[in-house]
């Protein structure tokens, strides 16, 4: 009974540890993601666009099948989880063997090994040990580490480079899991949203992607924001001067631009957009003159009275982005910036009377000027308007991103090692050849890039030959020896 119950998890493990299962899962992921790019997805597409693209019935079915939000649906996430499990289990299955190979490389050179080795050749030697000594000198000269091993009284040389490269595969898969881990952390704890702050104000809530509002434990103040243009009028740069305000005190300030966010407590505030709120202005500059005809510049802020003389104040009270006049009355036309109009309230505290004066900078006209004793000179100067810019900030909290970047770096290292670092091995042993004559057998193997290894191997062999020659230069004239040299025998150069 207990055995049967135990076998189910084991069977699941076996299934997931099978590379074939992994491939099937990956194919499913590919199909699902492709589907997710063809069907419009919920959070990024506006509802009205979705309704325009699909009939209500189709849309209902798509929603019911979670096809409009595949990448956040439970089944897609489970699929990714299964892929991760599969990667882990497949690696666990294969790791012990690989580790054995890595920890205890095959150093022996028995006859079966010698005949199966892909790269091998035999060099004639004069006496025992001459060959091994020459090979050791040659390998050391070329920068190969050399090990002497004795097996059954048979002494041989073993040399290798970049053994660690056989483990790179595990590094790559581990890095992939690290990236997934980062994604999961962000999926669970992370959030992202948008906040727009008009210049001079502060906000402490963000609108999340799903439309809900989220309160932050601090607020963000926008001191100023702006745009710089190219000569052709297209935007070149957006910037905002921001401050993090906690308990009424600014804690951190920064001027952010598009690719350079403000970071506070793991939350990042990106410059995402910038626009001018055409419905609002902060103030304007204008000139006026009184009875003495002296022209004085005046700076007006919204709803802040400014003294013109001891009894008279003027206040900027109203602003219309696009206005028209009919029968002496001013009306709003559109919300876009067109015929801009400002209403100034001139209050005479001595008479306790107020009068409203409208300025139209674009037309250069004033409405209601006769009611006050001050002249607002040259209304066109009122073009110096402080429009109210709004900065649009993308806010995101992604504590898992560091795992993602670490994973990317690790994967880079892993891929480099796996693809470009070759595990190369060379063996040398003195054995009797087919005629019973003692020869130096040199074998080699590489786990990839066989072309390059062929060159390396040829280089090593040439150097060993050289060493053998220089050992007894007089006895072996160069040319004569060349004839006797056996050709490189190679097979399986795949």
């Amino acid at each position: 009974m207990a055995f049967a119950m135990l076998s189910i998890p084991k069977r699941i493990y076996r299934t997931l540890a099978n590379l074939r299962t992994g491939v099937v899962l990956l194919i499913l992921v590919v199909i699902a993601s492709a589907l997710g790019t063809f069907v419009l997805q919920r959070p990024v597409t506006e509802p009205d666009k979705l309704q325009a693209a699909y009939s209500p019935q189709t849309l209902r079915w798509l929603d019911r099948l979670t096809l409009t939000d595949i990448f956040h649906s439970w089944w897609f996430l489970s699929l990714l989880a299964l892929v991760s499990l599969s990667i882990i289990f497949v690696s666990l299955e294969r790791f012990p063997n690989a580790w054995r190979f890595f920890a205890r490389p095959y150093r022996k050179t028995d006859s079966h090994f010698r005949s199966a080795n892909p790269y091998k050749l035999e060099l004639p030697i004069r006496n025992a040990d001459q060959g091994l000594n020459a090979a050791e000198r040659a390998l050391k000269k070329l920068g190969w580490p050399v090990e002497r091993t004795v097996d059954n009284g048979q002494s041989s040389l073993y040399s290798e480079k970049n053994r660690f490269s056989v483990m790179a595969v595990y590094l790559i898969h581990a890095s992939l899991l690290l990236i997934f881990l980062g994604g999961i952390i962000d999926g669970v704890f992370g959030f992202s949203g948008f906040m727009s702050i008009p210049q001079g104000q502060q906000r402490n809530s963000i609108e999340l992607k799903n439309g809900k509002m989220k309160q932050l434990p601090f607020s963000v103040q926008c001191y100023s924001a702006g745009q710089e243009d190219y000569a052709d009028g297209s935007p070149k740069k957006w910037w905002s001067k921001l401050a993090v305000v906690e308990n009424g005190k600014p804690i951190q300030t920064k001027e952010i631009v598009v690719n350079d966010p403000l970071v506070y407590r793991g939350l990042r505030f990106y410059q995402a957009s910038y626009w001018i709120d055409s419905k609002k202005v902060d103030g304007l500059r204008i000139a006026y003159s009184g009875l003495d005809s002296k022209v004085i510049p005046l700076e007006l802020r919204f709803n802040q009275p400014v003294n013109l003389d001891t009894n008279t104040t003027v206040t900027l009270v109203e602003y219309l982005s696009d206005a028209f006049v009919r029968d002496g009355q001013v009306f709003k036309k559109t919300d876009n910036i067109g015929n801009v109009a400002f209403a100034l309230e001139v209050a005479d505290h001595a008479n306790n009377s107020t009068a409203k004066v409208w300025l139209f900078p674009a037309e250069g006209s004033v409405l209601g000027a006769e009611k006050v004793k001050f002249q607002f000179k040259d209304p066109t100067s009122a073009k110096d308007i402080d429009f109210s810019p709004v900065t649009g900030l993308e806010v995101s909290y992604e504590p898992g991103q560091w795992f993602v970047w670490a994973g990317c770096l690790l994967m880079g290292v892993g891929l480099f090692v796996a693809f470009y670092m070759v595990h190369m091995r060379i063996w040398a042993v003195e054995v009797p050849d087919a005629h019973g004559k003692l020869v130096l057998w040199i074998g080699g193997a590489a786990n990839k890039n066989k072309d390059r290894f062929e060159q390396k191997y040829a280089q090593v062999v040439a150097e060993i030959r050289n060493e053998l020659d220089s050992n007894t230069p007089a006895a072996r004239p160069f040319l004569q020896e060349k004839k006797e040299r056996p050709e490189l025998t190679m097979s399986g150069t795949k």
């Binding site: 590379l19 993601s33 990024v44 992202s192 740069k237």
Partner: protein
């Protein structure tokens, strides 16, 4: 001594016969260069500007393509050599064009799809030369050069002014990201060409090549007909705003189409012409009668003629003329520039069919010129070993850049998703090769599939699927 004399004798007539095409291509190139030069001189301005250089590159790439085709017709091996020289000259002109653009804009040319194609073609030509010289795959250009020509034609039509970068694109990471993308895509293209070479060398049956070529060509025409055929035989194309040099938009992302009367029928005929060899192939398979295949091969030839006629008609009808639109009152102009992908698809279809004919007529010569199947298989694997880390780097830098710009490193945007799919396909190739020992044909199929996905990621996603990645 006598053997040698005989060999020379045998070579001489071939060489003589071969000179005719060389002279022809040489004259063609010279003619095009001179007309271009005259045109440029008449228009005034700097002679060595980018579009002229690009035009020179196009001429030489096309010359290389023609020489490969010539090799296909006559089997003269020295065409291949001259084609390689043409490729090299085209590459130099292409390099100068890239450098000029870089110099002009003061930044690496990677911001728009035009600039990306420019870098893609450059990398493609470079890798072609490397594959030829280093690995001895002499005729790889017969696939990569037509691809380059299609890309350059697309580029001639896409808006090419140096536009300033929008704020989101101003980052060093952009250049790293796009450089890696172009390098990896071009490497994938080369691995595709190598895989095709492998199939040629590996005696992949010519009939199957016929079937696949016809499927591809029919697919292209089916795509055009299915999306653009209007009732009563018209063909709808995008209206062109001559002043702003852009498509006419009705609303955000909604283009205005105009209908060219009767042209739709021609496309239907071309589609039938492309389907005919396919149908004949299946007839031959089901009835076990090879004589249908002979007819199918003739049908391919007729199909090419049809396609050329349709292409000609399309160019003449579309070029700078105005048509009515079924969607909005009035007459609107259109232009070749408004339909770059129809045109690119048609040219690609013609090239694919021509390549098939080349294969049909000169298979053994092609095989003689290629290195061993083993080498091709290995070099394909090597190119993917280069492409895969580049792809990985492209995705990683793209994620990093998106994180700094949009506040999220992964948002399942179509471009991102398709880049990930491409990555998975190549990862599948590597796994199958390393753990299952997939070699030869199956590996070659995989490499071809991978490049198909790359093409879709590069161009398909940009033009067919919505997303943030609007710049390219």
């Amino acid at each position: 001594m006598s053997t040698r004399a005989r060999v020379t004798q045998m070579e001489t007539p071939a060489a003589n016969g071969g000179n005719a095409l060389l002279v022809l291509v040489g004259l063609g190139v010279a003619f095009l260069l001179i007309t271009a030069l005259l045109g440029a001189a008449k228009a005034g301005g700097n002679l060595f500007n980018e579009s002229n250089l690009l035009y020179v590159a196009l001429i030489f790439y096309a010359g290389a393509g023609a020489l490969y085709m010539g090799f296909g017709v006559t089997g003269t091996a020295k065409y291949v050599k001259y084609a390689s020289i043409c490729t090299a000259i085209g590459f130099v002109a292409n390099t100068l064009a890239v450098a000029h653009r870089w110099y002009l804009s003061g930044r690496p040319p990677f911001a728009s799809i035009y600039e990306m194609l420019l870098s893609f073609v450059w990398t493609l030509a470079l890798l072609t030369l490397v594959a030829e010289k280093k690995f001895g795959v002499k005729i790889i250009g017969s696939i990569t050069m037509p691809l380059a020509v299609v890309c350059v034609i697309l580029m001639q039509l896409l808006p090419s002014e140096v536009r300033p970068l929008v704020p989101a694109l101003q980052s060093t990471w952009l250049h790293v990201h796009v450089t890696l993308a172009m390098l990896s895509y071009a490497t994938c293209a080369v691995s595709f060409a190598l895989a095709m070479m492998f199939l040629i060398k590996d005696d992949f049956s010519t009939d199957l090549f016929l079937a696949w070529t016809s499927t591809l060509v029919s697919g292209i025409y089916l795509g055009i007909v299915a999306t653009r055929f209007e009732r009563w035989g018209g063909l709808s194309v995008t209206a062109w705003d001559v002043q702003n040099k852009s498509d006419v938009f009705l609303g955000r992302g909604v283009r205005l189409f105009v209908t060219i009367p009767e042209l739709g029928w021609l496309f239907v005929i071309a589609l039938l012409g492309a389907l005919a060899p396919l149908a004949l192939y299946f007839l031959a398979r089901t009835r076990h009668n090879a004589s249908y295949l002979a007819v199918a091969n003739k049908a391919v030839f007729v199909g090419i003629l049809l396609q050329v006629v349709v292409l000609g008609a399309f160019v003449l009808r579309v070029k700078d003329s105005s048509y009515t639109s079924p969607y909005q009152e009035g007459v609107y102009p259109t232009s070749l520039a408004a339909s770059p992908f129809i045109l690119g698809g048609m040219v690609a279809a013609i090239f694919a069919s021509l390549l098939y004919l080349m294969l049909l007529w000169r298979r053994t010569d092609l095989q003689d010129l290629l290195p061993s199947g083993d080498t091709l298989d290995r070099v394909t694997y090597k190119t993917i070993c280069i492409a895969f880390p580049l792809l990985t780097g492209m995705i990683a830098t793209g994620a990093f850049w998106a994180n700094r710009t949009w506040g999220s490193y992964w948002s399942w945007d179509p471009k991102e998703t398709w880049a990930a799919i491409t990555w998975l396909v190549y990862a599948g190739y590597l796994h199958m090769r390393v753990t299952r020992g997939w070699r030869g044909r199956r590996a070659a199929y995989f490499a071809i599939l991978g490049f198909g996905v790359v093409i879709f990621t590069f161009l398909g996603v940009t033009y067919l699927l919505p997303g943030l990645h609007a710049y390219a």
